[in-house]
Amino acid sequence: MEKERTYTLKIWRQPNANMKGAFKTYKVEDISPGTSFLEMLDILNDQLSENGEDPVHFDHDCREGICGMCSLFINGRPHGPDEEITVCQLHMRVFKDGAKITIEPWRANAFPVIKDLVVDRSAFDRIVQAGGFISVNTGAAVDANAIPIQKVNAELAMDAAACIGCGACVAVCKNASAMLFTAAKVSQLALLPQGDIERKERAMKMVAQMDAEGFGACTNTGACSAECPKGIDLSVIARMNREYFTAKVTT
């Protein structure tokens, strides 16, 4: 067994959306390197509860890196200092014994804080509702193999579809732009023949909704893709731009 470690945590506390927040400092001890970051916060919360202090609220659910619920900004990076993972997959072995760790919520106008580290990401849902689907009713489908799809396109669509909607791309972007998120969905459906019919309308409506939600503009710095836990490629943004402009000039 490796030695257990001690950390100083500087955590954003904010009782609710209407009150001002501030950092508060805590200490945790006896953390084994195999503990996950969220389990470390569980331990802190158990400690806080025992002392009668309200636990630190943070979003989390599946704890295996796929639901997209967890959303912590750790030492200036969304999902913390490791590549292609979510916070729940981050382990304490990454942090040296005695390290000071700063934990903040996602910060973006379109993601208001609900409490502590929990933010409201319903703007993402509204972007999908604007057109992130193929209009096919249940029961109206043809045989699955009646639509052959080139393997390369199926793979590219899958690459884009791997997005978990966590919002790290927005959190890391200096403009709080949601281009990577929106473009991933637009790309997935544009790459597939099933999505062809509605491609123009989809691109225009999803982009319009993205703007209406108050996300910033894209300046192609690429931080979104670099910090994406699923490694969504920057090329999806180029594809969405192409979809959008084609739609604009041809409709």
Partner: protein, 644 residues
């Protein structure tokens, strides 16, 4: 009250077609006069809500997560079964039916399972049409892989993220209906009770998790799609928020609970590392296509491994025991989950387990990598290997993975008839939260199939049959029954907030989980189960005296949310144990030590236990009444399952 499963007459293959024709219809123009509540937006809930919206009903969908895209169906990795027979290896609807009913150890209904196999093909068609990027061959057609308990390749998959892609497909269909104004979503909202008016389910009481507001919602019919209750065990592969409260509240209002003790223990999870652990991570069963399961032949070598004197890769071939291949030559590493789990436990009990705790076995890809090359293995399982490496800090391309069984899925759930209606008129249960299709053991790649079958292709038909006889009148949430239920919910919340005891909710939950895992886990015996009942009762009493729930109701309070869920787990756990005690046979995931063959394999007792147990709640502190739905098998011959 007697159980009527409403299974249609006639030959197996014609039952569903005939039944669909006999179901009453609601005129398209009248559908908009009916309101439907759907609780849960995983595969079963999202697919149902979207389909209802498309049909024209008004839908309110409730979920505890912040977005419908996050329900735990998303975590399913391996795939979804369908009887397409695209691989030309002899698959058919009947074979899928047969494998599923055999895999479930003959404790499910023939008619339900056949229907599931029948609609499986429609699901694949539907998902492809939605844009789900399933894996494909170079010719552009769909690819298949194999799963446990089957000798054909019938599993469709999207890398190791099939559940995610199917859920996002259902979520997109749901989003389309939200945009169309047919579905209203209630995220971060927890259902805390179901409301009956004149004996029919007419609504629910919820708590807004951000404001704490307790509210009532009324409808003509209520559909529960709230998933499994495996978190009774504290450590499981479920999401942290998964809970049994909705089904438990429905049960207390009169819905019978079917086979509560049937829990699936998944053989390929990452082993427990210590007592700070909050959750177990699954490694897809699909890994058993190429990975070989083994432990050292002797205890002495296992000890050396544990002491770090030897590396797993240094153990010569003759000292390795590929026990699944040895005991089950025809199915080998692809035996069903219950068999694989039990054998892992056996070899660990013999002292041949590996890892720090001795509670792990190897899953080795060496031979597959030698045979196919790293690139092929990476393309198939890359994301799973990456996930493993992040958690364990070990490279599975170089050193064998370590795995151990963990609580994964609950086959038990609310008892439903062929129409998926519970014993409360107007209350339906779909997906994992009902008991219906998996018997005593679920085969891999069947959960996604069932969730979507129920939601897309079963309940949209059967719900019309009920609604066709319902008047359009709405019930006001001012109705005394709603007011009463709201009051009870508020009292429960106040009570928890005012105990101000000395132990945290998690501490109680861990204790409950420990009792359940030790005494109602991978193997069970009468004495242990009896002890468990006493221990649970004691723990529950202590909980209501000594739990510490901080904060107030009127804001986001995750401790309170958990406290409400654990309070229900404390009651549900006792029913699970009682059910396990009643079932003196071994079957599927339920292994009773008193019932085994001379070789130590599970021994089923069809003469005395070929029934579904359906438990009826009798009131606080009173023993529940057991009803038995006899299972009739006309199309399969009951045999002791053999995978040898």
């Amino acid at each position: 009250m007697s159980l009527d499963s409403k299974i249609p007459d006639g030959p197996l293959a014609e039952k569903w077609t005939k039944h669909k024709f006999n179901l009453k219809l609601v005129n398209p123009a009248n559908k908009r006069k009916y309101d439907i509540i759907v609780v849960g937006t995983g595969l079963a809930g999202a697919s149902a809500a979207a389909s209802f919206g498309e049909l024209g009903y008004n839908v309110k969908a409730f979920l505890y997560q912040d977005s419908a895209r996050r329900a735990h169906s998303i975590a399913a990795q391996g795939g979804i079964n369908a009887a397409k027979n695209y691989t030309n290896d002899g698959d058919s609807v009947f074979r899928l039916f047969y494998d599923t009913i055999k895999g479930g150890d003959y404790r499910s209904r023939e008619a339900n399972v056949y229907r599931l196999a029948e609609v499986s093909n429609n699901i694949i068609d539907q998902c492809v049409a939605q844009g789900v990027p399933f894996a494909r061959e170079y010719g552009g057609l769909l690819d298949n892989r194999s799963f446990g308990g089957a000798q054909v390749s019938r599993t469709f998959y999207a890398r190791g993220q099939t559940g995610q892609q199917l859920l996002l497909g259902a979520y997109s269909a749901l989003s389309r209906q939200v945009a169309a104004g047919k579905v209203t979503l209630f995220p971060r909202t927890e259902m805390l009770d179901v409301v009956l008016v004149d004996g029919k389910a007419r609504g629910i009481v919820t708590r807004n998790m951000i404001t704490g507001k307790v509210e009532s919602h009324s409808a003509h019919v209520v559909v529960l799609a709230t998933g499994g209750y495996g978190n009774v065990f504290f450590l499981s592969t479920m999401a942290m928020g998964c809970n049994g409260s909705a089904v438990w509240r429905a049960h207390k209002k009169g819905a019978f609970f079917g086979n509560p003790s049937f829990t699936q223990i998944h053989p390929t999870c990452i082993p427990v590392h210590g007592d700070q652990q909050s959750k177990l991570t699954l490694m897809s069963e699909s890994l058993r296509n190429d990975g070989r399961v083994w432990v050292p032949k002797t205890k002495e070598i296992a000890e050396k491994l544990k002491a770090g004197e030897m590396k797993p890769t240094e153990i010569p071939e003759e000292d390795r025991d590929y026990y699944l291949e040895r005991i089950y030559p025809s199915f080998g590493n692809l035996v069903p989950r219950d068999v694989a789990s039990r054998n892992a436990k056996n070899v660990c009990d013999e002292g041949r387990g590996v890892g720090e705790t001795g509670l792990a076995v190897f899953l080795d890809f060496r031979d597959a990598i030698d045979r196919d090359g790293v690139d092929v293995i990476k393309a198939k399982y890359g994301n799973l290997f990456q996930m493993y490496e992040k958690i364990v800090d070990d490279n599975p391309y170089e050193t064998p993975m370590m795995i151990y069984p963990a609580i994964h899925y609950t086959m038990g759930g609310l008892w439903v008839d062929y129409n998926l209606m519970t014993t409360i008129p107007g209350l339906y249960a779909t997906g994992e939260c009902n008991f219906s299709d998996h018997g005593a053991n679920r085969l891999g790649a069947s959960a996604l199939m069932q969730g979507l079958a129920d939601g897309y292709f079963v309940i949209p038909y059967t719900i019309g049959d009920y609604l066709a006889d319902m008047p359009y009148d709405k019930v006001s949430t001012e109705h005394p029954e709603f007011q009463k239920a709201e009051k009870e919910v508020k009292e429960r919340i106040d009570k928890l907030l005012n105990i101000n005891g000395s132990k945290t909710v998690d501490q109680f939950h861990k204790q409950l989980g420990h009792i359940m895992w030790e005494k109602c886990g991978m193997s069970r015996n009468a004495q242990g189960l009896k002890e468990a009942i006493e221990e649970i009762q004691k723990l529950r009493e202590e909980y209501w005296k000594d739990v510490k729930v901080l904060g107030v109701n009127e804001e986001l309070n995750m401790t309170l949310e958990k406290a409400l869920r654990v309070a229900d787990f404390m009651e549900l756990a006792e029913l699970m144990v009682n059910d396990a005690l009643d079932r003196k046979e071994s079957c599927g995931g339920h292994f009773r030590e008193e019932s085994k063959t001379p070789e130590g394999e599970a021994k089923r007792d069809d003469k005395n236990f070929a029934y579904v147990s359906a438990w009826e709640y009798q009131g606080e502190g009173k023993p529940e009444v057991l009803h038995k739905e006899e299972l009739v098998f006309e199309n399969v011959k009951l045999t002791q399952r053999s995978y040898k």
